[in-house]
Each structure stands twice: as C-alpha cells, then as structure tokens.
Symmetry: C2
Amino acid sequence: MRPGLGPLYRQVKQRVIRNLIDEVWKPGDMLPSEPRLAESFGVSPGTVRRALDELVAENLLVRQQGKGTVVSRHDPERSLFHFFRLVDAVGERPTPSSRVLACGSRRAERAEATRLGLPTGAAVVVIDRVRSVAARPLLVERLVLPGRLFGALAELAPEQLPNTLYTLYEERFGVTVYRAAERIRAVAADAREAGLLAVALATPLLEIDRLATTLDGAAVEWRLSRCRTDAHHYAVELV
Amino acid sequence: MRPGLGPLYRQVKQRVIRNLIDEVWKPGDMLPSEPRLAESFGVSPGTVRRALDELVAENLLVRQQGKGTVVSRHDPERSLFHFFRLVDAVGERPTPSSRVLACGSRRAERAEATRLGLPTGAAVVVIDRVRSVAARPLLVERLVLPGRLFGALAELAPEQLPNTLYTLYEERFGVTVYRAAERIRAVAADAREAGLLAVALATPLLEIDRLATTLDGAAVEWRLSRCRTDAHHYAVELV
DNA sequence: TAGTGGTCTAGACCACTTT
DNA sequence: AAGTGGTCTAGACCACTAT
C-alpha cells in the first residue's frame, strides 16, 4: 500500500479504523468478508486476518464463525462487562439501577472544560445520579458531556435516561465510547454524599474519575463517581 | 499431537507452559528457536509462532528480534511496570523506597490461611513495611507468604529486603509471580496507619488487597496495602 | 555469514451458519 | 450447497544480531 508506514497489516488496521471513524461501518454493521477485504485493500487474506485479529483483541470488532465480522456495539451487557468494575464480595457484577437527580445544560466550569478539552465556557450537559443495587445506594456520580455532541440529551426527562448510558450515546447520538481512563482515590463523604448514600459524614468513599474517549481520541464524557465500598469493591486483574 | 484437546497451537502453548512450570526453561533462559521448537513438537513453524504469540501477549515470554525468545524475568522495571499501578498527578510512576517494620514467621491466622489456600495453622512469613516517595510516606502494607516456599526469608535482615520483592522471590526462591488480582476499597486510617503515614486519624485511605499467583495457579503472596491518595492515584485503562 | 524473529503470501481443509 | 471465519501448513523475503 504505502512504504515507510510500518507493516502492511497495521496499515490495513488503520484503514479499517478510518472507516469506523468515518462511519462507513457503524456499530452493529457486518464487515465485508475477509477475502473481499483482502481484494479491496490489495493484500493477501492472511494480512487482513492479522489486522482484524488486533481489532478483535481491542474489542472494536467481534467475529462470529460462519456468519461474519461485525462492528462492536454497546449493548448493555458489553457496557457493564467492559466498563463497570465494581463487584460484590463473591466477585459477581451487580446490576445497578439509576435514579437521576438532575439533568441539564449550562456553561462548562474551568475544570470541566480542561478535562474535556473544550474551550472555556463551552456548553456542557451535566447529569447527576445515584446508582443502587437491590434498593441500596452504591454510588453517586456526576457526568459532564460536551454540549456540541449531546445537546438534545438535556431535554430528555430523567426517566428517559437508561441505566447504561453508553448504549444511548451510541444509538441516539452516534458517539461510541471505546476507551476510558480511570483514576482512583479515597475521599471522605461530604454532607450531600453522605445523605444520598445513607452513610455517616466523612465515611471513606472510593472516587473513580473517568475520562471516556472515542476512536479518534476525543474526550466525550467526564464521570466522577463516589462509591460506598462496604459491600462492593473495585476489581483489577494484573498480568 | 492429540485430538479433542482444542486447536493444535493451544496444545503447543500448554506444552510450553508445562515446561515453564517444570522449570525446563527458567526465567531469563533462551528458548530453542521457532523452527527447532516446531520440529520437536512435530508441528509447522506457523503453529509454534501462534502459540508463542499468545505467551508473549501474556507477558510470559519476550521476543528479541535477531536473538531469540527468552522467558520473562521479574527485573525491577517489569515488576514496577506491570504490578504497581499508583501514579502521581501527571501520570508518572514514582520509584518508591521501602522501610521494613517487621519481618518474621509464625502460624497463619484463619483469614490468611483461607486466602492463601493453606491448611489452618500453616507456617507463614509476614512482612510489614512502609513505602515512601521522596521521603514522603505513600503506603503501609502487610505481606503474608507461605512458609513452605519462603521459609528462609524470615531470617533475612530487614535491610536485605529489596524494594521490588518479586525479583527476590524469583531469584532466591524460584517463585515467579505471573498474575495478581486486586480488590480495591476505601477505608479509614486507624491510629497505627495514621501515625506511619503522617495523616490524621480516620483519613480515607485506598486499600489494595492483592493475591498473587504463579503459573500453576498457586497463591504465593497476600498483600494488603493502605495508601494515601492525596498526591497519587490508582490508574486503570479500560478498553 | 549464519541464525534469529518479523512479515507477507498462498492454499488446503475444517466448523459453523445460512439459504 | 455456498459462504463465513478458524486452523494448519509451506515457503519466501526482510531486519536485526552475533560471530
């Protein structure tokens, strides 16, 4: 294809990613078969296969033997499975329910703008909610989204916000979260958090500061969660 | 090789792992070349390659172009890079120093025995230490190790314990940690922790509960750390 | 120069899904 | 029966390392 840009299979991979960014192939779409892709890219099937191997490993594509290869979708299971790391004492993932406290749009505060890479004073959508497991509050969180991408979201009634927002982002706004970076700290519950979570003032809470990005590297959500960790914990596997 | 045991390359992979467990190839050793392995396993080079690909992805092997493939070692950088997830405000990994408070052997308490999969009352080595960054205490932790594997460790003077213990485990005791599971919670500092970390009583701390295992699945270290997170945080990348 | 891993190709056969 | 991804093989050439 082109010299000097690294191995062929990586060039193929980048062209596939390009098509995903440009929405030539959208979440849920079936890709052309591997022989067809090989022909259209002008490389051998083995080279296409290697490129797709990496994209599957990165959760961008899903292979289905006998059927074909599709672009990953944020169905609720996937969202929870890949991005929700709180588990209970025996390692089971809970299925939390959400209660929206507030949802509206306003101008970004300075910290919000810098974190999201927006100009100061840009419009943002802000959602405050509590997530509970078995009627027991687990965490309180604030989400800040760029208004440019999510303007219409602020108009939605709180009841219309689903529990797994990434599915909504994808289906209603064409925004696919594919990666997130989390920073985790321990903090003390303030009065509001203590009330919402039904714990004593200054109870230690786990703070999860998440920045979610799309394929092209743009930050699309800043989420600051504060969690009780008496019945749940954050699970990490190190290899 | 054998039918019904899944793909050939996975059988090859398992035989390589078997050789690692049996210490036919030890950390730092060079493996036979891929054509040689293919011949000895009776498969094609491509099949060996695929097996090694997975083992490299799991950090068990390291390929070096032009030289060969070696078994991964726990050199200090690798230990820190793979298993130490605390970073400072700008995302840099600190290089902590350790001060050992106590190191000795005794019988396991019940929680320790169950966590490590040992019979009740089995001998364990216990290490208490504080780790600091730039003379500022970052965390206090207790490590519990099976006495059967680490008996001689209790005799070492505290000054002889290096900062990155996994290197010591590997070089002196033939124990290679290759995986760890962490459970993270927020807790309040007790009097001892507050003193050691120079924080107020009941300051929120990040508790990291880590169980480290070897290739054959045996638990070889239980580590309970409590960390200040005012200047550092735990970093996770979600994909 | 010889040996190693890294890439790329080509083709065969299998397992699975759909028509 | 046809098409898809999954596996396995075989061989060519390249980039890098050692001697």
